[in-house]
Symmetry: C2
C-alpha cells in the first residue's frame, strides 16, 4: 500500500442558507479535485444535518495546500459564520485499508 492521508471533517449544519451552502459545497468538491495530490472524496449528511466528509490525499503538503487555497479559505470563513454549528477535523495517516464489493 502506498502511503496516503485522510482528512475527516465531521460537522453539524445550522438551519441557515441551504441553497448557498449546497452551491458552495459543490464548488469546493470540484475545486478539491483539481488540487495537486488529491485522491478522492466521500461525503454523507443525514436528515438531521450531521455530516461526515472524508478526503484522501497523497501527502501532508497536499492537505496543507488545500487548507490554504484562497477560495477554500473564503468557504471556511462562511462555514464558521453561517453554515456550521460545530465541526471537527482530524488529519490522519492511513495505516491499512480493505474493501468489500457485493
Amino acid at each position: 500500500m502506498e502511503t496516503y492521508y485522510a482528512v475527516i471533517f465531521t460537522s453539524q449544519r445550522t438551519d441557515e442558507d441551504g441553497e448557498g451552502y449546497a452551491k458552495m459545497a459543490e464548488v469546493m468538491d470540484e475545486l478539491a479535485q483539481k488540487q495537486p495530490g488529491f485522491l478522492r472524496i466521500e461525503s454523507a449528511r443525514n436528515t438531521e444535518g450531521k455530516g461526515i466528509t472524508v478526503s484522501y490525499w497523497e501527502s501532508l503538503e497536499a492537505i496543507q495546500a488545500w487548507k490554504e487555497n484562497s477560495k477554500h479559505l473564503v468557504a471556511q470563513q462562511f462555514g464558521k459564520e453561517k453554515w456550521y454549528k460545530q465541526y471537527n477535523v482530524e488529519i490522519c495517516k492511513v495505516i491499512k485499508d480493505y474493501s468489500f464489493i457485493m
Copy 2:
C-alpha cells in the same frame, strides 16, 4: 495530543432489511462503546443509502479486538450477505485534530 486512531467505514446500503439493519447498527454502537480502548463514534447516512461511520480508539490493539469481537463478527457476516452493496475500511493514525464550536 495523545496518540489515537480512527477507523473510517464508508458503505453503500442495499435496499434490504431496513429494520433488521437499524436494530443491529444500534446494538453494534452500544457494544463498541463497551470495548476497551473505545473513545467515540460518529455516523451519518444520507437518503441514498451512502453512509460514513468513524470510530476512534486508543490503540491498534483495541481496534483489532473490536474487529474480532464475536457478536461483531456475526454483524460483519450479515453486512456482507444482506446489508451492504459495498464498503471500504481505512484504519488511520490521527496526526492532528482541531475543532470549531459556534
